[in-house]
Amino acid sequence: MIGIDVGGTFVDFALYDAAGEMAVHKVPAEPADLAGSIMGGIADLAAQRGTDAGTFLGGMDLLVHGTTVATNAVLTGTGCRTGLLTTKGTRDALEMRRGVKEEPLDNKYEAPPPLVPRYLRLPVDERVDWNGDVLAELDTDSLEAAVQALKNHDVEAVAVCLMHAYASDAHERRVAVRLREALPNVYITVSSELLPQVGYYSRVSTTVLNSYVGPLLKSYLMSLAARLAGAGFAGQLLIMNSAAGLMAPEEIVPRAAAALLSGPAAAPVAARVYAGAAGASDCAVIDMGGTSLDISLASGGEPREVTEGRVGRYATALPMIDIRTIGAGGGSIARIDAGGGLRVGPESAGASPGPACYGKGGTLPTCTDVDLLLGYLDPDYFLGGRMRLEPEPAERAVREHLAEPLAVSVEEAAVAAYEVINAGMAAGVRDMIVDHGLDPEAMPMVVGGGAGPVHAAAVAMELGMPKVIVPRQSGVFCAVGMLFADLKHDLVRSYYASGEQLDPERWRALFAAMAVEGRRTLVSEGARPDEVEVRCSADLRYLRQIHELNLPVDENLAECLDIDDLHARFDALHERHFGYGLPEEALEAVNLRVRCVARRPRPELPRIGTNEAVTPAPHGTRRAYSPGEMSFREFTVYRGDSMGAGRRLQGPAIVELAQTTLVVPAVFDVLVDEAGSFVLSRRNASREKVGQ
């Protein structure tokens, strides 16, 4: 099988063959013909194995794909011309966004442009209430007027979202029938089919996002499938969704908004595999690129998710991996503000001119310049020697823009910038972990490629995290993650009732109906019925609380509702999250959820060979800044690409790889584990906390 992650600049491949060998590959992405880039990379892989693409693909049973087609359309505002039908009187909900102004103290802040302009938001005269009762019948004249307007404007997609359609979908279904008949070639999303969940704004926004990207995803996947089939591929194509689950193309096409984090969702999946190999079930994941730092989490072996998320500036309520981005990357610019404060980012020098040390004309000091001046990067061995760094412009940039204004030495200024960058990274990671009610001191940090491993151990020290894991394949991290994902199908039904009104029969029936539907979908995607795992959960809260907590509900409780049992479990969950429970308070149910999962056989992470000697031979030494000690000292430098499993070394050390450089502070030991990951452990840390 093969995992293929299409990013903005590269297409990454991770191949896992029948012999249990893993191979990775990277080709530049050609935005105008992504399917072509994929086919090219496949041909390369075939050639590397001495065969042709047809034979290679013919023997491939599974191809897992993460695509940025949907994401890019949203981020660049290049989705389809979409119309929206809403209940009369509510068509501006999409644009009003519940009144939010993300930057309340910025009087020049502009809201994101609505994905459907107002003239394409058309009212349908009808009304259903919270209980699903009809207050006003569907007025067919208003529907016909809307259909005509959609035709006149030649829309490519339509979203339908009517008030309380989660409680009764009768009107939405009638609208959908009429639309499908009148606009047969138009992509249509109906809110009660996509997301029958209370919360009008969330549902409108999600339904619109779905239609906005749907036609693009559809045509891309159809063309990719045809190219693959034409080249001899007879196996199964699965697409990764935003919740790191795999779906067949025909299942994800009508739920295109579920593909909005198709690629990045694999990061915590990969991370949990590497963390698992190192004995931990929880981990934080950082991936530091040129302009920003992505942060995600896995706990209990599962990626952490949100059900009220955002892609770009647009809200979606489909389950998705919680990924946060902060402006801290290799190109982030350091400066002194008017109050004498040293700040780094969010402005970035990007790739051009890039950091001053790239010698491409950049004159402002960046994170990478600082890393160079602190002795972490070897100017002659950056990216394995593929690019030479120039210390002089870096030094000049730091001197002029940081050291002189602060009246300190260049080294001290570089140290200051490094500490500020790390503090920002640490705060971002910490905010993420505490938002999920987890403890940083009880989990390791898994680090993707780029500049991350230069900073990760220092950040871990700041947060009291005991371990840092840098996988050998960190450059194609997400492609590897795709090989380890499961088939997943998520369902939700709103069921609004307070404790005493909860009807055991309806409770059981809703769960059962969702389980049947999810099971059927997974079986159609090739899962065996007996391997489908059904996970029920309920979004609950105390009476009149605003936010729900999602409580896992086991099979017995889903089948046979025991209010007291449910209450006790919710109290315990609330206590765990917020420090108190309210056993006397009535419960309210809001949504019931079912996730059907079919675990695919997990490949074993290939073991790398061991070296004869446990301690590797140093490549040399270098003077570098020692985080935590506030001083410069000699670091032992190692070349890491040839290190086999079982190698051990002690900080202070620098391990240079072709893809990245690891900084090992004095208080860390390094062990190369059997998967080839560099596992940095803090000496004297309370190790027993890890993996609990």
Partner: protein, 581 residues
Amino acid sequence: MTLELSQSARTVVFQRRVKSLTHEMARALYRSSRSPLINNGDFALGFLDARGRMLEQDEHLPLMAFSLYPGCGYLMDFFGGDIHDGDVFIHNDVWCANLQHADVGFYKPVFAGGELVAWTACRGHWADIGGAVKGTCNPEAVEVHQEALRIPPVKLWEKGRLRRDVWELIFANVRLREIVEADAQAQLGSCGLGERRLLGLLESEGAGAFAANVERLYDMTERRVRAEVAALPDGEYSGESTVYQDEPGHPSTSRIAVKVTIRGDRIAFDYSGTDPQTPTFTNASMTSTTSATLTTLLYLLSPEVLHNHGLVRAVDIHAPEGSILNAQYPAATFMGNKLCQHTGEAVMLALREALPERVTAPWGRRLSYRMTGKDPRNGRGFHDIFFLTYEGGGATHGVDGYNQPGLMGGGNVLAQDYETFEVQNPVHLIEHEYVTDSAGPGRWRGGLGTRTRVRYYGEETGGSTHGDGTLEPSPGVLGGGAGTLNRVEFQFPEGGRRNAHAMEIIPDIPPGTVSIHDGGGGGGYGPPEERDLKRVDEDLRNGFISARAATDIYGAVVTADGSGVDFEASRRRRNLRGRGL
């Protein structure tokens, strides 16, 4: 050799650490509170230093941003040496340095090594705090005693023990007790969490370094503010705004006047000339006026300016005692915070010639509306504030006004979701849409006004309005036009209809009544005939402006079918008009 980490970095790192702790406190409060008020972000929390000065906070409502430190200073003066580890103080009294009685604060001293090193605090809007009217908003109040239970700083916990007598005294005076008690628990929990985390930070930094970092952080912030002020043109600038007290029977107006003086790196706001306090509930405490002034200043400075004591001490603010901006006991003050819009407006108008590219045209004045009653579906009480009745923001150079409460009227407060609103209240939301031609016209137009139409089916339903904007709309600046008025109309099932005043209790809203609440648009910026024709065309297509406005106000020519702008003909027409033809 050990390096001295530059003080600058040390201080920035320290600030980032403390900020992250306030984030965790806010998350705990936000997720565990029960009333829609706190839950929608009507709170501020964070840390004060050992002297009660503002160190770091997480504020969701901009106006609340500066509400924590005055109360802390007051209580430290009052209790002197009688502050101990394990104490928690509760406070709401406006006359002991609060913004508003409904914003109830908790203060927990943090001790390390037997020394007071800092405070953790949380102030949030309670759904009720006693007084004559449920929900605490009493437009008929003429003095504080008709408004709320006054709690000067009192120990709620003493040396680690809850004072049940004090708890009962307070909650015996509070309606909606179960909701409010849960919010109080959530606030206490948040303070306790903040204390634990801050002690962890102290342990890793050392108490001496902590105290030094606090001082350096203020210095750094003050220098930053002064550097930005120094770049503003020196001078004395005056502005005004009129407050309308639109009450049944005795309408009145009050004038807010400000003189902004910029000299070098100093900026001063002097509200001398402002009218006296009123026998209504629209009076601001000095705490409220200070907060409003600092918030307005932040709009004019870089968004990077940190909100701590360094900012506070870089600015001079004066409002005469006994004026509507510095009211004295026993004035009623519930609506005092609404004056922040007027102080902000007066400041912006004062500076419009001096800082034309920074100022914002007046924003739609907030007209708030709340309802209470009994829900026939379950027999329980309901209470909600209509956060969704948005007025438009004011326009600024380069950007149209924000369509929702942009400036201090709102910010991060999340308005009700329509479906959840109907699930939780016995009402049907019939309409919630932008209103055509509501925005103040301009080269950049104001934010749009909104219409909210609701049908009631609850029992014993009552409502109350409180706000402004029913008598004078938000004006435009530098050639821009005014937005529309606010208006609340009730249509009764028996056939009668009437408009509510901006401050009125509507005691009886029978089932079947429909209310129409129009939130007005914000003021425009610059002459409308200079507006980019592409924007005029978009506004016309989207129904944000009418064909008539496009023609008469924006000087455009509309296509024959009325759907858009005829660009060529419009340019010709504007050229002719520009030459006075």
